[in-house]
């Protein structure tokens, strides 16, 4: 009797699971149909990516997959260039700065409406800034880290003029304004949806939000009343989630999706050979590095850290794991960032020199460390475990033994943040293309416990960073950052590995797609050629 019951239960589970599988299939089939139905005008673009958005309110998230969507639903006061991080007019047409750099007056664009029909005006801007400021510090992370103690007051001078008063000079003020989290949301909608605003985004962007099925897809449709005439060209965009890189590429091959990110570098060659597909490369605004915890064991010694820098063959890494779509990193930030120091010389790959330095440091017989390998693929680090294996072999050549360890991603970050890692692979994608967003964020002593995983501390560098933050003179800032890079090179808190150009792939019919270095692409110019 018992056996029969068990059998029945099994059968029930089987039937149920089949049902679920059936449902998921029909829903993805539905996606396709919607796309075909909307084919009268610009058509539908299905953009597949590795993870779902965390929130569709850009102000309360720090996560890139969220910005990919919100970039198209909302707009910022200042825009970045199409494929760079130069500033351009956005919702603000013109701006003016007072002589002391503490007052900024922005003239807003007229005749812009939110998707809910309410007007975009100075009041709306003030509302947004006050919302971020009044909010919980953890929740509005970006506001607090970029503007927190800097913005004193935001005032509506008239219907279309806003005035910002600052406590101190903030050099990257306009670049910060152009970041996705500082997009202007409809005050009426924020009030209406309250806590649910993260799921009901209303902005002024080229696309309106339609629906969000968690872990499956986000659909946005054309904003017919968009202020830029003739845009957007597409009728709708569907952001789909396909976690596995190879599965995503497969979906592109079968025509299920139109555009994918997170393409394995090893697949680039075969995609380029395929006439029906094309590849895109995101301009590099990232750095992958091997952090060396400056407070642990032998790594405390500067000579040891320099030795490890000499030991790593970056060129080989680029060729093997990035299919050449990357360049060896010398400094903690890529060349495109203003203030990059060209004069800094990299530690050339030189195992002999490394051995000699280790000998000088008293580690003639080497030592043993843990080498942490990222468990997830990131645009700057396509395969952490393999890169770790290559570095392991590099280290072994100079007598340093390493044990490769890995944890689940959140645990990995948490442990590294607490300083439990010896040498660890990590990376960073810039938010706004400012040197501050790389150097200060990753290597200032203030950032220990957040993004300074290497526990690097140098009072001189700290002084340079603080100085650079509080001057508006771009030439002066660049000088300060250049000096800092020299000191950092000598201190060698990391082995900077590469700056990669993340690869994407799409159907050959796609035109007008421009991959943005920040990772959030504006899709209003994209078209599907027939």
């Amino acid at each position: 009797m018992k056996k029969q019951l068990g059998l029945k239960l099994m059968a029930l589970i089987l039937i149920l699971s089949m049902g679920i599988a059936g449902c998921s299939k029909s829903s993805s089939g539905g996606t396709k149909n919607e796309g075909e139905k909307g084919g009268s005008g610009g058509g539908t673009l299905v953009f597949a990516r590795g993870g779902d958005s965390e929130s569709l309110d850009p102000a309360v998230t720090t996560e890139g997959e969220s910005f990919k969507v919100t970039e198209n639903v909302y707009e910022t006061l200042i825009n970045f260039g199409e494929q760079d991080t130069e500033i351009e007019p956005g919702l603000a047409e013109k701006w003016e700065e007072s002589a002391d750099g503490l007052k900024h007056t922005l003239k807003l664009r007229k005749g812009v409406k939110f998707h809910d029909g309410t007007d975009f005006n100075a009041e709306a801007v003030v509302f947004n800034f006050e919302r971020w400021k009044a909010g919980n510090k953890e929740r509005f992370y970006y506001y607090n880290s970029q503007f927190g103690d800097v913005i004193k007051e935001v005032k509506a001078v008239d219907e279309h003029t806003v005035e910002f008063t600052l406590n101190r000079v903030l050099a990257p003020f306009y670049k910060n304004l152009a970041m996705s989290p500082f997009a202007i949301a409809s005050p009426a909608a924020v009030e209406k949806h309250g806590g649910k605003f993260t799921e009901n985004p209303v902005g002024t962007g080229p696309f309106k939000f339609k629906e969000w099925k968690r872990n499956d897809k986000v659909t946005i449709v054309k904003n017919e009343n968009y202020w830029k005439k003739g845009l957007p060209k597409l009728d709708s965009v569907i952001f789909r989630v396909i976690p596995e890189n190879s599965a995503r590429l497969n979906a592109l091959n079968t025509g299920e999706v139109d555009l994918i990110d997170g393409v394995n570098f090893s697949d680039v060659k075969s995609i380029e050979k395929n006439d029906k597909l094309q590849t895109f490369f995101r301009p590099s605004l990232n750095v992958a590095y091997l952090g060396l915890n400056n407070e642990r064991g032998p790594l405390k010694d500067k000579k040891v850290r320099q030795a490890l820098n000499y030991a790593v063959d970056k060129k080989a890494l680029v060729d093997a794991f990035y299919a050449g779509a990357a360049e060896p990193a010398v400094n903690p930030m890529p060349k495109t960032v203003a203030g990059y120091n060209d004069a800094v010389k990299d530690y050339e790959y030189d195992p002999e020199k490394a051995k000699q330095l280790l000998k000088e440091a008293g580690y003639e017989d080497g030592f043993e460390i843990e080498l942490w390998a990222m468990p997830v693929a990131r645009p700057y680090m396509p395969d952490g475990k393999k890169v770790a294996e290559a570095i392991q072999a590099n280290f072994e050549k100079v007598g340093v033994k390493s044990k490769i360890v890995s944890f689940e991603w959140p645990t990995y970050l948490e442990k590294a943040r607490k300083g439990e890692a010896d040498a660890f692979l990590l990376g960073w994608t810039g938010d706004n293309g400012d040197a501050d967003n790389f150097l200060y964020v990753l290597l200032d002593e203030d950032s220990i416990g957040s993004n300074n995983y290497a526990y690097y501390k140098n009072p001189k560098v700290h002084e340079l960073f603080t100085k650079a933050q509080s001057t508006n003179d771009q030439g002066e800032r660049e000088k300060l950052y250049k000096e800092a890079q020299e000191i950092i090179k000598d201190d060698a808190p990391w082995v900077p590995l590469v700056h990669s150009k993340p690869a994407l792939a799409g159907k050959a019919e796609i035109t007008g797609y421009k991959a943005h270095p920040t990772g959030s692409d504006l899709l209003s110019n994209v078209e599907m050629k027939k």
Binding site: A320, K386, E389, A390, Q392, A393, I404
Partner: protein, 299 residues
Amino acid sequence: MEILTEKQPQPIQTVKDEKTVSPWQEAWKSFRKNKLAMVGAGIVLFFILVGIFAPLLAPQGINEQAMAKRLQPPSSQHWFGTDDFGRDIFSRVVFGARISLWVGFFSVIASMAAGCLLGIVAGYYGKWVDAVISRIFDIMLAFPSILLAIAIVAVLGPSLQNALIAIAIINIPNFGRLIRSRVLSVKEEEYIMAARAVGMKDSRILFRHVLPNSMAPIIVQGTLAIATAIIEAAALGFLGLGAEAPNPEWGKMLSDAKQFMIEAPWTMIFPGLAIMLTVLGFNLMGDGFRDALDPRMKN
């Protein structure tokens, strides 16, 4: 499983007879006649020799990376081609034999020892001891074995040694049940009764009489279990729960190669072949042992 309850010819212990052939010798004779079994034994011997003489056979070390030479097809210089680190796959497969055989032998020896002990105790003493031990075996057998192995490795942490421990643990009930059923039938034999009647101690009865008379099925099961253990070790390695980089464990090599399956199939074919051949060897040999040691198969 029938062989377990079959009675074996009783060992000749009493009268000394010069012409008598021991059952072991007889088994060896019939094993030698079995061609497939000899092929299996040959393969096993081959891999054992490869493992022992790996440093002499392998042209390179296991982790000599040369990025410039990555993913090269088989050539006279690299017989099995190179992997994505430019390492010589032939050398890695050769050294991999050591790892796989090591895991295979030692995990089986460990589970055999533990399984025999528990099985003898359960079978000989019976009653509640038997009930407890047998239910534990049932519980362990209720899990798909690889799942149980994954769970054990997850608790212990991924490493080759822990994979070995996990494989040893999951195979205990197989040996335990086998020996228990053997003991149940053997202990009713007259010579055991006699031993008891003369007041022999339990431990002496168990290890001098019961165990030796249960050896045949254990040898068969043991040989076959090595094959399974090698596959299980490869599966754990494939899942990233076995050998650590840069150890050339065959399963791990397969997993590392899977993204180049189309581009560079040799990265996958050779470790795959190595697994297949060793497992085939042990299986053929195990079958041969079974035939040879099973009294019913005698002509």
